[in-house]
Symmetry: C2
Subunit: 208 residues, 2 copies
DNA sequence: CGCATTGTTGCGTGTTGAGCAACAAGCGTG
DNA sequence: CACGCTTGTTGCTCAACACGCAACAATGCG
């Protein structure tokens, strides 16, 4: 579950199949919701398009909403890849700025476009919002653990890692919200992320 | 019944009754979940304890989870009462610090205790987490609109109000998480809120 | 004091989430 | 390479749920 440092990422066939199934279900759910609207999609519909049984859909997600929101989502751990390699004397906020902006910038145009569409769908179907918020919470958790690990503190009891994780997550969220109604690509999103981090670094004084 | 309802305004009887019903249902839901665990509570149980029909529970909340999380919740607008009265030349972050910390400090010990219990319950029942995150999002929205209103910008397109709202919300969340496993009162929570805002103001440099 | 408005309730229905047991598809070991 | 162990998938079943609808009751207003 929580890959520490070891590199052995040779996944068995089983694991890969599971991941593929999960992605297929999520994509099917998202596409259907986009086509017919959230209320006119059932788990049976999703199952059918994903070539699995309805029961299997339930095995992967507690609800169709969770499945929809999971589509094309970036693993928080992937978003933070490279954080450990940053110089440890660099301020954490700056490391996060570099890594997160870089991660966003590496997205393909297609991936970015799907994420934009997903954000727009969530705005149209408010029932999805809690689940998206939970995803930001996962990102926040990943950041928090990464920061705590670097500074050698307990992620549960350390206030600073919590706060910086929340702030960094808010920076990403802000950038996404600003970007989602434009027609710009990943580069523009990355620039917005950097801009948000700049304001955080300067203590959120309005002139930024 | 069990709650000292904060509905002091001169609302019609109808409005007050609705608010009371909502609070009664939410409290019933929370108490039952605390007593028996989330999975062993049905909407019928909740309805029974709240002296309403199951159908009415559905009228107020889309799910029992939403009802549970709504218990003893502070209206975001109330949390921000007084923000408009702060001097307009004061940095927004400082105004928020004062208002939010003050709001938290004014809570009764009982209210604080119930909120703590709710946080603990949410940790035990992860299915509640998305809904709590959505509540933080509501707080964030309220902050965003308040800040945008003061500076006269469009809350939808202005990046700064989004970011500061997210950061302030993260400050509150951080404080609550740090506080929830202690046995301290509202004053201690308020102090933690102020501490988080201090770190935000100083640009999140670790020495804070 | 009626009439319009609006909250509450019961009913019916399509959907959901999950436990269970059977089956099949990886996987490890000898 | 074949056997058994582990684990993902499926169909079945059922309690619970969300919600539209229409009747009813309480409130608010003129």
């Amino acid at each position: 579950m929580s890959d520490a440092a070891p590199a052995p990422e040779e996944l068995g066939l089983r694991e890969r199949k599971k991941i593929l199934t999960r992605e297929t279900i999520a994509s099917a759910a998202f596409e259907l919701a986009q086509e017919h609207g959230l209320d006119d999609v059932t788990v049976s519909d999703i199952a059918e398009r994903a070539f699995v049984s309805p029961r299997t859909v339930s095995n992967y997600f507690h609800s169709k909403e969770a499945a929809i929101v999971a589509a094309d989502e970036n693993e928080p751990m992937e978003m933070l890849a490279g954080f450990e390699d940053r110089p440890h004397d660099e301020p954490a906020l700056q490391s996060l700025r570099t890594v997160l902006a870089g991660s966003v910038r590496s997205w393909s145009d297609e991936h970015a476009q799907r994420l934009r569409a997903k954000e727009q769908l969530i705005d149209r179907a408010p029932a999805l919002l809690p689940h998206r918020m939970a995803q930001y919470d996962e990102l926040e958790d990943a950041i928090r653990h990464a920061v705590a690990k670097r500074t050698g503190v307990d992620p549960e009891t350390d206030a600073f890692s919590r706060l910086i994780a929340g702030a960094a997550s808010a920076a990403v969220k802000t950038a996404v919200r600003m970007w989602m109604n434009s027609d710009a690509g990943p580069d523009a999103l990355a620039a917005l992320v950097e801009q948000s981090f700049d304001e955080l670094e300067s203590g959120l004084h309005h002139d930024a």
